[in-house]
Symmetry: C2
Subunit: 430 residues, 2 copies
Amino acid sequence: MSEHSNESTIAAANVALAHVHSERLREALAALAHFGARADGGVARQTLTEVDLQARRFLIDRARALGCTVEADACANLFFRRAGRTNQPPVLTGSHADTQPVGGKLDGAYGVMAGLEVIQALNDAGIQTERPIEVVAWTNEEGSRFGPGCMGSSAFVEPAKLDAYRQVLDGEKTSFGTALDRALQAIPDVPRCALQRPMAAYVELHIEQGPVLERAGVPLGVVTGIQSVRWFRVKVTGVAAHAGTTPMDVRADAMAESIALAHRLMAEARHYEDRQLRLTLGRWVVAPNSINTIAGDVEFTVDMRCVDGELLARFAATLQEMVASHAGRSRMVLEPVFERAPTHFPSAMTALLEQACASASARAGQPAPLQLTSGAFHDAMYLAGHCPSAMIFVPSKQGISHNAAEETDHADLVLGVQALAHAVTRLAGA
Amino acid sequence: MSEHSNESTIAAANVALAHVHSERLREALAALAHFGARADGGVARQTLTEVDLQARRFLIDRARALGCTVEADACANLFFRRAGRTNQPPVLTGSHADTQPVGGKLDGAYGVMAGLEVIQALNDAGIQTERPIEVVAWTNEEGSRFGPGCMGSSAFVEPAKLDAYRQVLDGEKTSFGTALDRALQAIPDVPRCALQRPMAAYVELHIEQGPVLERAGVPLGVVTGIQSVRWFRVKVTGVAAHAGTTPMDVRADAMAESIALAHRLMAEARHYEDRQLRLTLGRWVVAPNSINTIAGDVEFTVDMRCVDGELLARFAATLQEMVASHAGRSRMVLEPVFERAPTHFPSAMTALLEQACASASARAGQPAPLQLTSGAFHDAMYLAGHCPSAMIFVPSKQGISHNAAEETDHADLVLGVQALAHAVTRLAGA
């Protein structure tokens, strides 16, 4: 990480911050939200769909109007580059422009438009930075059309992943590879750049998608890391039978045994609530799913998260023991589905973001930033393996996201971009 | 109830029993099973479908070949009548010929073909009974195409129900009334008879659809009653939110709170297991049903049954209290869906069936019949409100029913028909 803490850089960072323009940001967010706009106020812009390609063209044109050069890599990640005094590796900011099938106007889009607003603020302030600054729009962060999520950022960091990603099919049997080729063919005027290019640092500004900042009454959060996650599937196989004719003592009731296990697991999780263990049993498939038939088959998912990777491993072992020692009449099998170790952002980065957020907050008479961890995945999770990375969060009203009702006070959105402008200028040097 | 216990009637009953023909019964069951036969050995013959109409024509022709007159009532229930010496109200036996979308060869069909076999046995034995004997094939016992089940028998007993039944639509928006009219138009040669006609008695022979007789190693069961049933729907409304970003202490997790309630309810039910309380939580609808989203809405069903109606009422009150005193962050509502008081068959009828079963079992060197209650609904439940009624059960292998694998040893099927022949002859007088 190249950190510039000399006085002239800090002064430039404060000037850049002061040039962030509230109404321009409002217009920019609204402009991107037109692509895939829904009547309910939400946005439907799944990755590499027609409307996403239109949005990409809009971003390219807008970045060029700001004087940026535009390049795309083999995963169709778009990079908008503001030249620096040198050709050293750039400071990268941005996020993703794709949405869930029904998403809001801010998830991802905010980080991309914030990056472009920072460039415009630097232009207006007449600040030239030592390093180039690039704004990225990562491909397929959401993972809803093609799984898994964060394909763009993870392929950027680890290009070997791209081959397998290209084979993934969407619900209409279109491969990610085919969709990717179409997206690149649609922008023949955009030169190709390399995956895995060196970057000086990555800063991602994002809505929190949770209730912590709002509840604390604090407009800016410095993200210290991303929780570790384990996903499991519990499969319970009993015997479907008539609810009226089958005595209780001969049943192999897959739902009754699932409930017993789920109850034990939730009770166990309660012991670790103060250590930020989070447990969600979100998806249930019951067969035959009939009011008067004992369930013969139940499948349910276990999503467990904790910023403490060791605690999470211990909790996963507890689940494994519970399933292994299961004494009911149904057969119970535990399948691991996904696992991701925690991400800890480097303290030099979080300290720099802390100062950037504090500058923006103090100027607005707002409380100092809060430190928090992210329970959601973000592209920054992958970038953290490539260059010094960290994130800034702004509040989400009622913690709602992946929903048309996703919302953040505009004043908080502006504060976030101001903090980003400060941080990016510090990192790029002026 | 007209019971004939004089010696000549008992002698005739034993003669009728002895004329039940094993191979003829086997052929008859196989013949009906052709209508809607599936490759897996099961039968798909939902009520009033094309294949059900073909099966009805087959039954009419077969009954006429046995010398029966055939009539149908306004609910398309078919009655095959063997004349008696008098025109007193007939003794009725039979069951239903419709199946679940995927049913077996025996559920319902066995009782209908058993009735026709009893008539053939009486013919072969040259026995004339005092009362007429009628075999009935009730319309829509299963309730899978048009709900609720037992439409035919309940409309027979309470004709006022028919108007509402006629409005019920199937999945393709065909009304029960339209289907009924077509079925009656397809048999212009069959005269109409009245709903709610007086009957001397009703005896229904059916497979148990549960494991009790098989586990006891007893081939015949006398059904003393049908359990009381209550159905409820529990609706739990929380807030869907991100599994990663939402701390445990602010969640309104509809699934977590459903599991807690379900667990308490199942624990409570365990206290009454020896009193034959049965509890099934069979149907679950979880939304948005995603691995990494806290469930915002859960609906699950509660099916509770007990032959002790008072115990069941107390248990239902316990559920109501649990829901009312629910202290979680989700909203919880309990909706009653269905309720049916227990049916207790009259002891004179069960005693007569006990003797009939004992006669058949003793002759075959089999253990004496078992008394048991039915956990499933049957047409006899409604007939019990119209005339003295009762049921005989034969074992179901592994208790399996509503399934292609539904099976009963043929020797047990024969024993059941022998007992039925004995009972019907006793009731009709000879």
